[in-house]
Symmetry: C2
Subunit: 324 residues, 2 copies
């Protein structure tokens, strides 16, 4: 089994590789794992293949596709903040590189003497949704994205579904909740404060809260995100009835509940490191974000996430505290 | 006011031009109306500008965009049957030409000394939806297309919405019901039998019904389709709250109800020209099509359609019978 991870240098990609090289993937020879990204931080000693490259280059994508991977994890993206700033770059990478990838894989499918149909596990996002929302978002709620990132994810989902329906590839789009608590430093995602206000205080650093504590949002841990990706391998996508974009489970909680969990686990002194610093731009963006889901299909398919924010903090402490 | 109609050579395009040159657009000078298409049947004597060209060519699109039209009707499409047969052509014309058009218009917007933001009225389709359906499809129902045509329309909608949200253009996507009764001969749309079974008998020709008479579908007349397009000009798109794809009103009826209306209007002899000839491929496709909608937003915006199939037949008789 040959596996490719696009965007393997990112936070989730790194954790996915680490997990694959630990328990669950004992059957996969590390030399059959290929990581693709622009840069690979902290990954010099590992036994897998590193390919440095740019998804914006259709020729590189063709060369990659020619390796005929059995499973392709597609985690590469221009994140929300950057896609909003750099309109063209966002569309080129988040949508058109998906087109070039699928076209190249279709050619491999057509030219293969056996039935080559790679499994593609694509990380989409709850950013495909836009307000106004019902109290909980059902699996049948429309995509009306209010960011370029969300529009790009939603249209890449449509491409992946249609190439899959035609039998050229076999894909699933996993609409990840906001990943919390992200280790390391903040990325350009506008949602990164949800992580910052917990991670920074736990590392004895101050953190700034740009929104009101009543803000409710939909979270999952990095560990659950990796679980989702690995779980997707086991699913028979033909049971998806051509609805291949899945709202994943997560935890709906308010910033206040996040802070309460931090207080319970780490004490008032740590909580005191959070300083309210309202940012009207972020407040406006957050007002358009989903707050709660009823992800029936995903639960039925066996996807699991945390049920309390205490668990999310504990996961951070056990997986990442002090390690970055 | 300068107006461009992309796909003006098609059935709806021709009717739109005719209407514009009649009553409603007395204020528009015909020399300010531009028609763009690959071919223009029966339109040699009219006083508007004809541009023969291919939307698949980004250079032609750039030249068009440079004319800075105030209103662009985008009716051009590879229809459902053809998009299913010719996968690449469908995506190139139905999605990528939209990208090239929007990019070219964005450049005009950026380079204009005044605030150039063209209004784009794009004909999308109920093919953006896929089964299973609720009894009636609400304005918040997900897009899960089960044809390439539907996926292309849904992703072009996302592009148009995002370019509009950014202020580069000002667009609306009109999700047209199946247009019935189409004059002339059948096109490559898989839904054309809904028209054939009425039009052919009314013209003393036999017609073949490929599905069961219990099949329910969502229809509007060509005249209503033109009304939708002209009505859209009057709408302030800033009231759409960035949900710019609109399910339009139509008539939900069964094939049996269609035939009953035909019997009432034209008699049993005419109905006898319809011959049942089940086609498993079309039956399977039709099983995936929407049957009924609750288009609250469109009704509130003032869009109107027929309420009985009798009206749809009468419209055909008055507008098109004998004229083709």
């Amino acid at each position: 089994m040959k596996i490719l991870i696009l965007g393997a240098g990112g936070m989730v990609g790194q954790k996915l590789v680490k997990r694959m090289l630990q328990t669950e993937f004992n059957s996969v020879i590390p030399s059959n794992i290929y990581l693709f990204d622009l840069v690979f931080p902290h990954q010099n000693n590992i036994s897998v293949n590193l390919i440095r490259g740019d998804l914006g280059d259709p020729q590189q994508i063709k060369k990659l596709a020619a390796k005929r991977f059995d499973i392709i994890f597609h985690l590469a993206a221009i994140v929300s903040g950057e896609a909003e700033e750099n309109f063209n770059k966002g569309w080129q990478i988040n949508l058109f590189s998906m087109w070039h990838l699928l076209e190249a894989l279709k050619e491999e499918h057509i030219n293969s003497s056996y039935e080559y149909v790679p499994k593609i596990i694509y990380t989409s996002s709850i950013a495909v949704f836009g307000p106004p929302y019902p109290k909980t978002i059902s699996d049948e709620f429309l995509c009306a994205p209010q960011t370029s990132y969300g529009a790009q994810k939603a249209s890449a989902e449509l491409l992946l579904s249609d190439f899959s329906r035609k039998g050229f590839v076999n894909g699933i789009s996993l609409r990840l909740p906001t990943i919390c608590i992200r280790p390391g430093s903040a990325n350009k995602a506008a949602s990164s404060f949800f992580s910052n206000i917990i991670r920074e205080p736990l590392n004895n650093k101050p953190a700034y809260l740009p929104v009101d504590t009543s803000v409710r949002h939909w979270h999952t841990s990095p560990r659950s995100a990796v679980n989702f990706l690995l779980h997707a391998i086991k699913i028979d996508f033909s049971n998806l009835n051509d609805r291949r974009a899945i709202n994943l489970p997560g935890l709906s909680c308010t910033v206040e509940e996040q802070i309460e969990a931090l207080r319970k686990i780490a004490g008032q002194n740590v909580v005191d490191l959070i300083e309210s610093r309202p940012d009207p731009i972020i407040e406006k963006m957050v007002a358009g974000w989903p707050r709660n889901f009823d992800p029936k299909r995903a639960l039925k398919l066996g996807f699991k996430s945390e049920t309390t924010f205490d668990q999310i903090i504990s996961t951070y402490i056990s997986d990442d505290l002090g390690s970055v």
